[in-house]
């Protein structure tokens, strides 16, 4: 086998949607290296193995979903991908580079951005300032420039302002730019977190329960926006979500986690009909979530 073929075989094993799949994975992703690969990723907290042997591959412009019952280890996977936790096993290859030993900041600079399940906005600051913090490494000037208020300070500040408003317009939030972030309604806070993450210029966007606390109408809007973000920014998105209508509606590949282990991978159709998955979502949750 040639090296290319080896790669292909390996990828088709760990891919959520094994390819050549029924054209759900965008064509353009097939022959480029994936944005994210994890190999036997795992982490142990004391005696508890929260995540174990997770192999994932996400294409450069794929929308992937990570689902599973409460406590399955989904957020923990995100925390490892963003280097909040250092994995105790396995490796993460992002954009062709190994992430081991890198810091949260480095991971962000390499192009991983995320939102948080428990909203972590800078509540005392305005909506626009929150986005500007996302732009920190995108539109830069030195502290000395700021202290002396040199011309480039004003130019860059203006560019930050324009860019922030443009990003906010994704969710039609530009008229809230001057509102204190902490005083926004819940749904708007979630949307702002997405905008802030996008501002860092990511190649991979991780969304942790983006629809939590949103009403069905808002969720539907969000779904459309997520698809639009992928198209406009041409980035990969991995999202955790309990709202199955969103996951099934927007994700091209889905991975199901239970007790830290992957129990199924595939398209929405495949996942919905997978008996193992239905088993994992027992009882009430099954009816609720997968109905």
């Amino acid at each position: 086998m040639t090296e290319q073929q080896v790669k292909k075989v390996r990828h088709s094993e760990t891919r959520m949607v094994p390819y050549p799949s029924k054209a759900i994975v965008p064509e353009r992703d097939l022959n480029v290296t994936p944005i994210l690969e994890t190999h036997h990723l795992g982490i142990q907290f004391g005696g508890l193995k929260a995540v174990d042997d997770v192999n994932l591959i996400i294409g450069r412009s794929e929308i992937a979903g990570l689902i599973g019952p409460n406590g399955a280890g989904k957020t923990t996977v995100f925390n490892m991908l963003t280097k909040v936790y250092e994995p105790t096993e396995g490796s993460i290859i992002f954009n062709g580079k190994d992430l081991s030993g890198r810091s949260i900041v480095q991971a962000s600079k390499m192009g991983i951005a995320r939102t948080f399940q428990n909203i972590r906005l800078f509540g005392q600051m305005t909506v626009e300032e929150n986005v500007r913090i996302g732009l920190h490494n995108q539109i830069r000037y030195t502290t000395a420039t700021a202290l002396l208020r040199l011309p480039s300070f004003w130019i860059k500040e203006h560019r930050q302002h324009r860019e922030a408003l443009e990003l906010l317009s994704i969710f039609g939030m530009e008229n809230m730019a001057d509102v204190r972030a902490g005083s926004l309604p819940y749904g708007a806070q979630r949307r702002l977190e997405i905008v802030r993450a996008l501002a860092t210029g990511p190649k991979l966007l991780l969304l942790d329960e983006p629809a939590a606390g949103m009403n069905p109408h808002e969720t539907e809007e969000l779904m459309k926006t997520i698809a639009r973000i992928r198209d406009d920014f041409n980035i990969a998105i991995l999202l955790i979500e309990h709202d199955m209508s969103l996951v099934m509606g927007v994700c091209e590949g889905i991975c199901v986690l239970n007790f830290g282990k992957i129990i199924a991978k595939g398209t929405a159709q495949e996942i919905q009909n997978n008996p193992v998955v239905i088993e994992a979502y027992l009882g009430k949750q099954k009816e609720e979530s997968l109905a």
Binding site: F45, N118, M125, I139, T143, A146, D178, L184, Y186, N215
Partner: protein, 525 residues
């Protein structure tokens, strides 16, 4: 529920519309104007200039004249500490350490320049003195910051305290003399004074007071010192405002608000804490040098007491509030000086006043008064923006309350007060929820059972009276309610039962009125 909108319209009409940005510019301009006006007025008075002639003000006492320079020095120290405590959110108990570096450096440099090199111009010598003092304090700040900023919270506070004590102890064993017998030469001795001989002037004499700076020959050039002090205050304001209102400043504030989120946005936390810490050290060094204009200070004064005192100025002035810090520093500096006639009771009274001031400034009534004052500058836009949702919010919080008290609240009017009434309940819950959230922040591993609390937003901790968790719709409404509470900071948080009573009374009154004047507004549409 048409009346909700009417309420909002009414509320917002009484407020002027300034965007937060405009308000902030206003606040900065006001700070500069206030400081400048105060300076012009005082300078004129102190030097018996034309203005005091017009106003027919008598010459002020020597003692009062002596206030101006130290107040400026303390303002610089307090504002710079506010940069660390207020903006970067780290408690530093070692600010006096950096001030003492500036104090000692200032004495050596000033005397070297004036006595050693014969510089005549006090402005130039003072400028160089302040620059060098600041620089040296900044370098020490950087060195101290390397170990200190790796720590968090209480640990950081304790280590800054320890570092300041080390600096103080070292400076107390430091002897410097100026030898002018052949050119200007500085002689150093440590830890015992071995300097003697004719033709040398002792500059630093270990633990005892040293030669003052800012003098012309043997007399202090007060007017010049006033101008220099004022310039230093303006410089400090410029540095602090320019720094905090910039990319770097936002990054500093973000590390304070949420460390993990800041890091995830690609902001190097330690570097930005360091920028704030070192900038504050530089400014503290300069203020220390300014304090050295009087021989009343000696190295032993730059101790924990002094650090705490500066911290008191900052806390009373308000974390992150520069103008407030200026006011509190001025007031708290003058107070003990003016209380000297009380002799032994002086510090007792000072402490009592301090307690009183702290309690007052934390009093909800006073706070509300302040909010209603500042809300003059609040923005109409942000309120009407959510008018639609706020209507739901009223309804939402009403439901919650109804659930909680297990009897429906009488709510037909004053929809705002429903949200208001929901608040005590919420605040209880938030207070309960917070320890879990704090633990998670500090990286403590929560017990397995508690992990859920860490991960969920604190508001998901709300339960109705029968123990079932609130549905997401209600939660969202409460969020909006809280937002409203934010917008109308002057809503009073009342007792639920009291609120009910008042509402019932209102209703009775309303009915009587209605009978007289026909139905007009009020009830549900």
């Amino acid at each position: 529920m048409q009346y909700d909108h009417a309420v909002i319209g009414q509320m917002s009409r009484s407020r002027r519309s300034f965007s937060p940005k405009a308000r902030h510019i206003l606040y900065k301009t006001a700070t500069f104007l206030l400081v400048t006006a105060a300076f012009v007025f005082l300078y004129d008075w102190l030097t018996q200039g034309p203005l005091s002639g017009i106003l027919n003000m008598e010459d002020i006492s020597r003692k009062t004249k002596g206030y101006f320079v130290p107040i400026c020095a303390w303002v610089v120290a307090a504002v710079s500490l506010n940069l660390v405590v207020g903006f970067s959110g780290e408690l530093s108990l070692g600010h006096a350490g950096f001030m003492s570096i500036g104090y000692s450096t200032g004495i050596v440099v000033y005397n070297l320049l004036t006595k050693g090199y014969g510089w005549e111009n006090i402005y130039l010598s003072m400028a160089v003195t302040l620059a060098v003092s600041g620089l040296l304090a900044g370098i020490v700040g950087f060195l101290v910051g390397i170990p200190v900023l790796r720590l968090r919270g209480d640990y950081l506070a304790i280590v800054t305290l320890a570092c300041a004590e080390i600096i103080k102890s070292l400076l107390q064993c430091f002897y410097v003399a100026l030898d002018t017998s052949e050119g200007a030469k500085l002689l150093f001795a440590f830890p015992k004074n071995t300097l003697n001989g004719s033709g040398i002037t002792m500059l630093l004499k270990g633990p005892t007071a040293s030669a003052p700076i800012g003098t012309k020959g043997t007399t202090t050039d007060l007017p010049a010192l006033y101008i220099i002090s004022f310039a230093l205050v303006i410089l400090t304001l410029l540095v602090v405002f320019n720094l905090t209102d910039s990319r770097t400043g936002r990054a500093i504030k973000s590390t304070r608000d949420n460390r993990i989120a800041a890091e995830s946005m690609g902001i190097p936390v330690t570097r930005h804490k360091m920028i704030a810490f070192v900038t504050a050290a530089v400014l503290a060094g300069m203020s220390g040098a300014l304090l050295a204009n009087k021989s009343t200070y000696q190295p032993a004064n730059f101790n924990l007491d002094m650090s705490i005192m500066v911290l008191v100025y900052v806390v009373l002035g308000g974390l992150g509030n520069v103008m407030g810090t200026i006011f509190s520093t001025t007031a708290l500096y003058i107070l003990p000086e003016e209380l000297r006639f009380m002799k032994d009771y002086r510090m007792l009274v000072y402490a009592l006043v301090l307690i009183f001031a702290m309690v007052l400034s934390n009093n909800p009534v006073i706070k509300r008064w302040f909010t209603s004052f500042t809300s003059l500058f609040r923005r109409k836009h942000s309120i009407t923006l959510f008018a639609e949702e706020s209507r739901n919010a009223y309804a939402g919080s009403k439901d919650v309350l109804a659930d909680r008290t297990s009897e429906p609240l009488v709510v037909e009017e004053e929809a705002l007060s429903d949200t208001k009434a929901a608040l005590p309940v919420l605040e209880d819950r938030v207070a309960e929820a917070e320890p879990a959230a704090v633990d998670a922040e500090a990286g403590i591993q929560p017990a397995a059972a508690d992990t859920k609390a860490e991960d969920k937003d604190i508001f998901t901790m709300l339960y109705t009276a029968d123990g079932t968790p609130l549905d997401e719709e209600s939660m969202r409404r409460i969020q909006v309610g809280l937002m409203l509470y934010d917008a109308y900071g002057d809503i009073e948080i009342g007792d639920v039962t009291e609120m009910k009573q008042r509402k019932e009374e209102n209703k009775k009154k309303g009915r009587k009125k209605d009978k007289k004047s026909g139905k007009k507004g009020g009830g549900k549409a």
